[in-house]
């Protein structure tokens, strides 16, 4: 194992912002900022639909706002088309069945000391690591 591209400061700063956003969503809307639930509810449920859609629009505005600082945003996808589609399907189906993703289980759930979310987070990180081990980066 070698350590590469390690950017702890920007990662931590971004994390603080994510935590603060989750706090705002909780204290104003009374809800957990789990993006997979917000996204799936926005298409599957009428309740809170506009809240959900506006949160997602906010997610899209975030990087645009950041780009005004003049810094480049790096985002590289190297997958072949079939793997990209398979990956998207697995993420969609998996987060729906498992009721959460990196934000819902990983950030909000762990913050609440939920054993269920801690379990889910360990499982998806382990399967993620295992998948990268097999398919490579």
């Amino acid at each position: 194992m070698v350590i590469i591209n390690f950017t702890p400061l920007s990662a931590f700063t971004g994390g603080l912002l994510i935590g603060f956003a989750a706090f705002l969503f909780f204290v104003f809307n009374g809800r957990m900022a789990g993006v997979s639930s917000i996204a799936s509810d926005s298409v599957l449920k009428d309740h809170n639909r506009y809240d959900n859609l506006l949160f997602l629009i906010g997610l899209i505005i975030g990087p645009i706002l950041y780009s005004f600082s003049g810094k480049e945003i790096e985002s590289i996808i190297t997958n072949s088309l079939p793997l990209l589609i398979l990956g998207g399907l697995l993420v969609g189906v998996g987060t729906k069945i498992g009721n959460g993703c990196t934000s819902g289980h990983g950030v909000c759930g762990i913050s609440r000391f939920s054993i269920r979310s801690i379990t889910a987070t360990i499982v998806f990180i382990l399967t993620g690591v295992f998948t990268v081990l097999i398919f490579g980066v």
Partner: protein, 138 residues
């Protein structure tokens, strides 16, 4: 008013995803590439987010109600069941294949990459399929 706070929370969340580098699938895969060339950065994203949210959550959940909405909605399901394990495993596999989870996938829409659009579209199809599976297994 909940619409305004949703939008603002989303924007700050999206800023956080951008600054932390999570909108870059290659960086996320670097985090999962533990046994080869490992980029531990994303661990610090989670630590930062939890460090802020966790104490504030426990302080504010004791309030009688949220500022704009009527009630706090806190997940009550504590079961570690088959659905949780299967779902989390599938999600982890998809995450490890592409390097995108739902939050960054939406944020990356602004980066005008056709691959991201396809991913988000298929992910939404996945939500429908997942719901079908959920209703069947009940």
């Amino acid at each position: 008013m909940t619409k305004l706070s949703s939008l603002i929370a989303g924007i700050i969340f999206g800023l956080g995803l951008t600054i932390s580098g999570m909108v870059n699938p290659t960086k996320v895969l670097g985090f999962l590439n533990v046994f080869d060339a490992w980029d531990p950065s994303l661990m610090f994203v989670m630590i930062g987010a939890i460090l802020i949210f966790s104490p504030l959550y426990f302080i504010f959940k004791r309030k009688s109600r949220p500022i704009f909405a009527k009630i706090f909605i806190i997940p009550s399901n504590k079961n570690i069941d088959k659905n949780l394990i299967i779902g989390a495993s599938m999600f982890g596999a998809g995450w490890g294949l592409v390097g995108l989870c739902p939050g960054p996938a939406f944020s990356a829409i602004s980066l005008l990459n056709i691959n991201v659009y396809l991913f988000v579209l298929v992910m939404i199809v996945g939500f429908y399929l997942g719901k079908l599976f959920q209703t069947k297994s009940r």
